[in-house]
């Protein structure tokens, strides 16, 4: 079994975002999803630092230092965009106005707990940014991640051992091997990717997984 690459996974996630959705793609890998949204569909991207209607990266000669995304990379704004200040921007999140946000993860628990801001390693510089706000803020919180960490351990766990970002907040996990829904009784396989089987996934995660209905 071979997992999907980052780009393929971003494409897979992009397919599940409907027209008209308000979407926040956090920072890091999930921002790749923006590049694979279907042409011709209007999907409105939110960035925590005060913009709805975020467009793609600018041409090299047209970089504008005042126009950046949450990852501090230069972006553009679409016709119909709106700027607002930070309290308003996070009010949008916290108030449940975003349809979807896509976040990275260190761990996701079977009850939907998310750990993605700190490994708890001593001496590390703690930094949380908007992660905790996003985790509790969108109608649907999706995670994009490899199923396994670099050390081979599963990122899907029965209980998070890393410090939590949010409690019972994740509704779906897109991994390189499968898409999982977080159900009241734990993870349910929604879709197998890259040739994986449920048995393989159970072996890799050491979890009992419900299969597709």
């Amino acid at each position: 079994m071979t997992g999907l690459g980052r780009v393929e996974l971003a494409q897979r996630i992009a397919r599940d975002i409907p027209e008209g959705a308000y979407v926040n793609l956090g920072i890091g890998a999930p921002t790749l999803v923006a590049d694979h949204l279907p042409d011709g569909l209007e999907i409105i991207l939110h960035t925590e630092n005060g913009l709805l209607g975020m467009g793609r990266a600018p041409e090299p000669g047209a970089v504008d230092p005042d126009l950046i995304n949450a990852g501090k990379q230069p972006v553009t704004a679409l016709p119909g965009a709106a700027y607002f200040h930070h309290a308003d921007s996070f009010g949008m999140m916290r108030g449940g106005h975003l349809d979807v946000c896509v976040l990275g993860a260190f761990q996701v628990s079977s009850s939907g707990d998310l750990a993605n801001w700190s490994t708890g390693a001593p001496g590390a510089i703690p930094a949380v940014g908007g992660a905790m706000d996003l985790a509790i803020g969108a109608k649907s919180v999706w995670v994009m991640t490899d199923l396994l960490a670099r050390d081979g351990t599963s990122k899907l766990v029965s209980e998070c051992t890393y410090p939590l970002t949010g409690v019972a907040c994740v509704s779906r996990v897109y991994t390189d091997r499968a898409v999982f829904d977080v159900m009241p009784d734990g993870f349910r396989v929604r879709e197998l990717l890259g040739g994986a089987t449920v048995a393989e996934l159970e072996s890799l995660t050491a979890l009992t997984l419900r299969d597709r209905p």
């Binding site: 960035t47 970089v63 940014g129 803020g137």
Partner: protein
């Protein structure tokens, strides 16, 4: 006649005292009031508490203030950036205190100070390490923690245009923390790219009304460089930026 314009950044930060709490606008470099920070460095105040989303980039601006040992305590959401080596070093050496606040709680706590709210229940951070020691309450079936306002003695922010009454508009995502910080400080100073005539800012489009602003300082046109390397960009009038080093 009301005239809040101030001749220089040095004049604007003249009165900042040792031990002050100073809010500094900006998200990364966007909206960071670099000239006001430089003036604060030159002015000499120390033992400061700084409230800012990040903890400095590279060796300039807030990072330079930190490097001078002027800051006792940082209140911020995201001090760990690829170019935040100054803060990293101080923190690892135990030379700076850190209060880490989720970004939305940070913005809302600053707004609360400006709006006279004594505290508020937020769902952000519930059940995490950052909720430790905070009062928790279930309201309508949802868990919240109680957060309190963050006020400051001084706010240093960056805006695009300002007038002599202190009305401000910002530019794109450089708006970020400016409006809430302006409302939450005893004294607010804004550096602006352009001072314009009273009435030149459309009343419908004012983002920060002058009631929140005490000083407006025009600064020279901006450059966008990263560690001395030109990384592209246009200036506020759409002209390509020159390479400055």
């Amino acid at each position: 006649m009301i005239d809040k314009t101030v001749a220089s950044a040095a004049d604007a930060v003249f009165g900042i005292e040792d031990g002050s709490t100073v809010m500094i606008g900006g998200f990364g470099r966007a909206g960071q009031p670099v000239e006001l920070i430089d003036a604060l460095i030159a002015q000499g105040a120390g033992d400061l508490t700084i409230v800012s989303n990040n903890a400095g980039n590279g060796d300039t601006g807030l990072a330079a203030l930190l490097a001078r040992g002027r800051v006792r305590r940082m209140i911020c959401s995201f001090p760990r950036q690829h170019d935040s080596w100054v803060f990293d070093g101080l923190y690892r050496a135990g030379k700076i205190e850190l209060e880490l606040v989720p970004q939305g709680n940070l913005a809302e706590r600053i707004r609360a100070a400006g709006a006279g709210i004594g505290g508020f229940f937020t769902p952000t951070g519930v059940g995490t390490d950052l909720a430790q020691g905070k009062e928790e309450r279930v309201i309508d079936g949802r868990r919240y923690i109680l957060e309190h306002p963050i006020a400051a003695d001084v706010a240093l922010i960056s805006a695009y245009r300002g007038d002599r009454w202190g009305n401000l508009v910002y530019r794109e995502t450089a708006r970020n923390f400016g409006p809430v910080m302006a409302s939450a400080a005893t004294v607010t100073v804004a550096q602006v790219d352009h001072v314009v005539e009273l009435g030149a800012i459309e009343p419908e489009s004012v983002v920060t009304p002058g009631i929140f602003v005490d000083g407006v300082v025009a600064v020279p046109p901006r450059r966008w460089v990263d560690h001395g390397r030109f990384v592209g960009g246009v200036d506020i009038d759409g002209e390509p930026l020159e390479v400055t080093r």
